[in-house]
């Protein structure tokens, strides 16, 4: 910094000190939602050494700090993709059609707990859970109904499914094939991120090692047969929602990404063959600038990791493309209309952070799955950001802000420290086995709860500005038991109609593939086409691979 600047800055600091004697700050320490201390303001001094070309570069170019597309939203608006699913396939099919009619561009399927856990709706363990948190899919017949009347060759479909991911992917492929849509044409995303299940989301079936083999199977299969399919949506969302800080979300998720790329390379795939089909999924929380910094730092880090660590040569491999969802955990059941304001702030942060796709939560999601009218307000919120606010007119409008660049650097440095620690432990698989990320997240969650109790952090309507509410003032969606009955009837019908010999033969073929090293995907495809159920297929794998149990640490 030049002398004049230093002189002026020092002078002003004295002015500030005098001013604060009269107007003391309202608290001793100011910090982000993740409790990262922030300065009163930043100047060129706080980002000394900032190098525009090295640190930001130009949009669409390495290191992509400013965004992955050259003209960002001018050329390609983010995809408005509302995650939805409830009841039976019929119920969700109707919701999908409503969303598409109202201007949504892509589908995003939420499956219910039994499906996520590889169980059929009629399993005793599924009692009370069918269709509650998402749509129930037990056989290909359900998938046929789910996409009835929806052009699978034209839309993009995202499926939030992890342990049973290969099965649901196979069902989608089978639906497309039956309609004459070539495999090369189908577009979408499979979450397929098993590592974050052990870390945070906890919907696992098998132990980590065979689970990673299944991920590698889908990577290999998609690379060879589904060129337009995004194979893994490496997800920070669930990590954050489980209580992680913004830095932990970023670091653990990138560390998961590193583990997947390594798995693909170990499978013998060329990194540039599969890395362009990996995408990310961030949470976007209330702390506006912390979130924007996280999105920007993430892109810069991934670009370096892919180019420098994995020696990827294709720029597409360097790009961190991401979906984002507003933070469910930030919503309150109290005064639920306030959630619209939270979602607006979060959605705006995702856009200013350069997200490529966005789900905005509905105001009622802490009470139940959202009603149709609540979903519409959430979608309209995105449309207002996109079409009224003007923020989509420029690329990375906050780039160059002293504070935003300082915070981006800080988030990046802290996240790298975690990644180095995980590397030292022996990589994410070992770290998970030692319970390292799990414990870090649980500590952060507990710390935040304590801060809430002491009013160090505020949730409006919870620990401040609360009111006595006789009623919530909004209607909520109620999912009745008939979904379970309707679903179980369909499973019975399918089981009585299907060819038992084909069922047995395909399951046998799968078992052999699981016992050996052959790719399981083609066998899973045979099983779903024979109308084997999700649970029947998973049971074959459970027998070969074993099951994983929660270590129950707290």
């Amino acid at each position: 910094m030049d002398q004049k600047f230093n002189f002026e800055y020092d002078r002003w600091k004295k002015v500030l000190a005098a001013h604060e004697k009269k107007h003391p700050p309202s608290r001793k320490r100011f910090s982000t939602l993740s409790d990262m201390e922030v300065p009163l303001m930043c100047t060129p001094q706080e980002i000394e050494g900032f190098d525009y070309v090295r640190d930001l570069g130009f949009p669409g170019e390495f290191p992509y700090t400013r965004g992955v597309h050259t003209n960002m939203y001018r050329g390609r608006m983010w995809t408005m993709r509302q995650f939805s699913g409830f009841g039976t396939a019929e119920d969700t099919n109707a919701r999908f059609k409503m969303l598409l009619e109202r201007g949504q561009q892509g589908l995003s399927v939420a499956f219910d707990m039994p499906t996520l856990m590889g169980l059929d709706s009629n399993s005793p363990l599924s009692k009370g859970e069918v269709g509650k948190c998402g749509v129930a899919v037990s056989t290909l017949a359900d998938m046929e109904v789910l996409f009835d009347g929806i052009p699978v060759g034209e839309i993009t479909t995202s499926m939030t499914i992890n342990s049973p991911a290969p099965i649901l992917l196979a069902m989608y492929v089978a639906v497309a094939e039956a309609r004459g849509v070539p495999k090369e044409k189908i577009k979408g995303t499979l979450q397929n991120d098993i590592l974050k299940e052990y870390i945070a989301q906890k919907e696992w079936i098998y132990p980590p090692k065979p689970s990673m083999r299944l991920v590698a199977d889908t990577l290999e299969y998609c690379t060879k047969s589904l060129p337009n399919w995004n194979t893994i949506s490496i997800s920070g969302y669930h990590i954050r929602e489980a209580g992680a800080t913004a830095v932990q979300e970023l670091a653990f998720t990138l560390a998961d990404g590193i583990a997947y790329v390594q798995a693909g390379v170990d499978r013998g795939l060329d990194v540039d063959q599969f890395a362009p089909r990996l995408s990310y999924f961030w949470d976007v929380h209330n702390d506006f600038f912390e979130e924007i910094a996280k999105f920007r730092a993430g892109r810069r880090m991934w670009a370096h990791i892919m180019r420098d660590r994995f020696k990827a040569k294709d720029p597409k491999s360097w790009m961190l493309r991401t979906h984002a969802q507003t933070a469910g955990v930030s919503l309150t059941a109290q005064q639920p209309l306030n959630n619209i304001a939270r979602v607006t702030i979060q959605g705006l942060a995702a856009v200013l952070g350069g997200t490529n796709s966005l789900h905005t939560n509905s105001m009622d999601e802490t009470l139940s799955l959202p009603t149709e009218s609540a979903v519409m307000v959430a979608l309209r919120t995105q449309q207002i950001i996109a079409e009224e606010s003007g923020v989509a007119n420029m690329v990375d409008p906050l780039g160059g802000s002293y504070f935003v660049e300082w915070l981006t650097n800080k988030v990046e440095a802290d996240a790298y420290a975690y990644i180095h620690k995980i590397d030292e432990l022996g990589g994410m698989m070992v770290a998970i086995d030692k319970g390292y990320p799990q414990a870090e997240i649980a500590n952060a969650a507990y710390h935040f709860q304590r801060q809430l109790e002491s009013q160090d952090k505020v949730m409006v309507g919870i620990n401040k500005h609360s009111v006595d509410e006789k009623s919530r003032g909004i209607d909520t969606l109620y999912i009745d038991r008939t979904a379970e009955d309707r679903q179980n009837k369909r499973i019975e019908q399918i089981k009585s109609r299907r060819d038992a010999k084909k069922v047995e033969a395909s399951l046998n073929g799968l078992r052999k593939a699981c016992e050996g090293t052959e790719n399981t995907m083609p066998h899973i495809l045979e099983c779903v086409k024979a109308y084997c159920t999700v649970q029947e297929i998973c049971d074959v794998m459970r027998k070969v691979f074993g099951i994983y149990r929660d270590p129950g640490m707290f």
Binding site: G128, Y446, P551
Partner: protein, 148 residues
Amino acid sequence: MPKTGAAKKGHAEGNTKIRVLVAKPGLDGHDRGAKVIARALRDAGFEVIYTGLHQTPDMIVNAAIEEDVHVVGLSILSGAHNALVPEIISGIKRAGATDVLYLVGGIIPDEDFEPLKKLGVDMIFTPGASIEGVVTYIRKHVKERPLK
């Protein structure tokens, strides 16, 4: 099953440490709240037993009886509470434990409050509930037990 605190069977020594089973029934994987509560109750001086995830009603009944707990806290965010909670409460009662305090935490629609309370749930804590509120409630309402 990880547990904390000193004597497991405190009654014989006249130890009045309150034992709490924090349980995650069903397939729901959301364990942030359960873990925060488990740790907070431990810090408040209770003996806490946490079941871990994906427990069937039978597993929870067995744990409650085996650990002879004063309080059973069920954390459910998946919407399956109406199917799971009655099975657990009736199972524990059938096994002879009649002096247990039942708490439910999670995403519970308002219209389910009364039916759950009729089935024997003492208190329901929804998102936004404070740790101190839960601790205070337990201290105030834990049921007196004769020495064994």
